[in-house]
Symmetry: C2
């Protein structure tokens, strides 16, 4: 993974902000400039025309939400939904519409300055849900409340992106920067950000993205500008096993596992930057009258700081080494030793976008301009990946109310007034960052 | 559970030996008397006629082994095999053939002294196997080697008991004591000795059994005269759970479980009487990014000494209390505390039969008389239960070779010469303890 220094990060954020400011602007100036720029955009005739279009084809947006929600998209099985979304990207008239090797689908709306050659401002929503195959994804409607697994996380955002394209076209809005609209795979747990990892590290847009918006969830007040990094292990402790009575005194992988948990929980990670761990899932053993020959334990470690996460990771590996060595020293290894294998089952880089970066200040200004109060948060989303690369990135909401994400009774409210107001936040922020003629 | 003092136990063992000796006989005398009595039995015309019958209907014994092995008898699901065995007990002409409330099947061969009124010398084999429903129990034959799950543990013994009845009848052997032939349920792990517990503590033979042979496994040299006691727990640690990142700092039942394992493995139990423990099977947790709300761990503790087992048990409960209290003190209990529930999933009393008791000395003499070398062992078998009640009890082998008990490739060798010689051990010991006219 490439890491940029703070000064490079700063330069990159200025680059993304190029449409708005010169490189000399300091933090206060940039914030002030963002507020003015956003107010100008939101108050202008183009934006008003775009909002009129969002209103006019709102039923189509809701229909798209339902259509997409009812196409199952479990982790690693997003293909059917991706294909449908690809057709929708084509239908709204984007250019260069394609599915990449990882399964992401995307299309370009060229800007006046870069004319489709990039760099690109990306706005992405993720195709995958947390729900396994066979989950009933039929949308239930009760008044303006729509319920179905995955409807708010993150299917509504996919439909909102399409609405933005239609609105910009209807309003004849020309941005300076090229915009890449993306429906990406692999945001949820097991996907481990595989979609954005491909987009930034392997795909044809690698090195050509200047700013990244992930639209994820509903709340329009939310700016996720810090990415909580995570590292997850499935550790398998192995030993020779044996009869609980006959082989008593032989090393037990259970003890090495237990010592690892006890020692990890004696670690005191910093509260700021917030750093956490969890011994989460455990299993193993053959019968009550047998010394087990295999025990697994899944561990989760997270931090807002890449350095703290790396430090915790190193401490953890030391704990595993010590626990296994201790067990091999404490009991007989005649029939075999205890060993461990630590398999990384998840790795999301920690990172953050400078709070003074344009993507943050412009989005905060857009949230305020539409009458909401900006809430800066740390979370683990697709934006983690570009953050870790020093590319200005945040995660924002699609607008409207919603709840019970990751639960079978997940819901969104599509009440038109509130939802339309929320939807304008993302559009205003996108236009501010991409720049308008 | 009733526990007898050592003097009561001694009295009981003398009572069982009543057919052979007066109560004044000391240990050396009794051993010497046993040797002479067994030699007299084995050298007599009755025993020779019985052996001739064992030889003559040996093929029938092997056929019975196959028939019974191919009727599945998982723990708690012995009924089909029990019913078949009940019919076999009837067919060999025993009286009072019945199935008791627990599912044991049994029949009486009345003696000349007690005429079916008891007390009874019991010889039992267990009906159950360790194998779950659906296991392929078809017997595979390769020369004299028969393979199938459960064939040696303990199905051959069931067939050998039937052969004894036929042999005694053919040889017109009249014993002084009544003999109760039993096919009992619940010897293996989860059955937790439920068959013999019922026989000795609830059934109609309660208080009427003077000596107990369990025939279990093959080795004819083996005298299990010490019963390894065991206590098994399934401990469930519970806590409030929560998001691994959002709820970090909240108590984790995983840690309480782990501390319990670490503390238990710091205990140094005595090597003599052999005392052991095992943390054997573990499971729990919902996902890698959640603090678990429930973890279970199965523990096995064993000892040749009831006192040491009780002491270890008490230590263990103290460890659980301390581990849970420690976790509740170490982390936040705001959303709820960690607690534990220790469910006893197995309890086999420890015990032993006086090495000078007639059942031991007579069996040792029988083993020697047939050309084997007696091996005194400690184990956990159906004999544990009568031992714990002070009733003279041992476990012996059915004769013949065998191996891989509790494995799918379990096997016995039915080579006639070796097997017939081994089969005579149990018959000679039974006749010595029951007394012959």
């Amino acid at each position: 993974m490439r890491r940029l220094s703070r000064s490079m990060l700063f330069a990159a954020s200025l680059f993304a902000a190029g449409a708005l400011y010169g490189p000399e602007a300091d933090a206060a100036e940039r914030s002030d400039t963002s507020v003015k720029a956003v107010q100008k955009i939101v108050g202008g005739p183009g934006f008003k025309a775009a909002v009129k279009q969002l209103d006019a084809d709102y039923d189509r947006t809701v229909a798209d939400i339902v259509t997409l929600t009812e196409i199952p998209a479990p982790p690693f099985k997003e293909e059917q939904r991706a294909k449908a979304y690809l057709e929708m990207l084509k239908a709204v008239g984007l250019s260069d519409v394609e599915m990449d090797a990882e399964g992401n689908v995307m299309g370009v709306r060229a800007g006046t300055a870069t004319k489709g050659k990039g760099p690109f401002v990306v706005i992405a929503a993720h195709l995958d849900t947390v729900f396994p195959e066979g989950t009933d994804v039929k949308v239930k409607r009760e008044g303006t409340k729509l319920s179905a697994p995955g409807i708010g996380d993150d299917t509504r955002s996919l439909a909102v992106l399409l609405a933005y394209v239609r609105a910009m076209d209807a309003a004849k809005i020309r941005t300076k920067a090229d915009i890449l609209f993306v429906g990406n795979v692999g945001e949820e747990g097991p996907g481990d950000l595989r979609g954005v990892k491909h987009l930034f590290n392997q795909g044809k847009y690698k090195g050509r993205i200047s700013a990244f918006f992930s639209m994820d969830g509903s709340d329009p007040s939310r700016i996720v500008d810090r990415g909580v990094g995570s590292k997850r292990y499935r550790v398998t402790f192995k030993g020779p096993g044996g009869h609980s009575y006959g082989a008593f005194g032989v090393v037990n992988p259970m003890t090495a596992m237990a010592q690892s948990v006890v020692d990890l929980y004696a670690v005191k990670p910093p509260a700021d930057p917030k750093t956490t761990f969890s011994a989460s899932v455990v299993g193993g053993g053959t019968s009550v009258n047998s010394i087990p020959n295999q025990i697994f334990l899944e561990f989760d470690m997270r931090s807002e700081s890449a350095a703290e996460l790396a430090k915790l990771d190193q401490t953890f590996i030391g704990i595993l080494d010590k626990a296994v060595a201790g067990e091999n020293a404490a009991r007989s290894t005649k029939p075999g030793v205890v060993s461990y294998d630590a398999k990384v089952i998840g790795e999301r880089p920690a990172g953050g976008t400078d709070p003074n970066a344009t993507i943050v200040t412009a989005t905060a200004a857009a949230i305020s301009a539409l009458g909401f109060k900006p809430e800066h948060e740390a979370s683990s989303t697709d934006a983690n990946l570009p953050m870790s690369l020093g590319i200005p990135a945040i995660t924002i909401g699609a607008g409207g109310k919603g709840g019970r994400a990751h639960a079978l009774d997940e819901w969104i409210d599509v009440e038109k007034g509130e939802t339309l107001k929320g939807m304008q936040v993302g559009l205003a922020a996108l236009l501010a960052v991409a720049g308008v003629e």
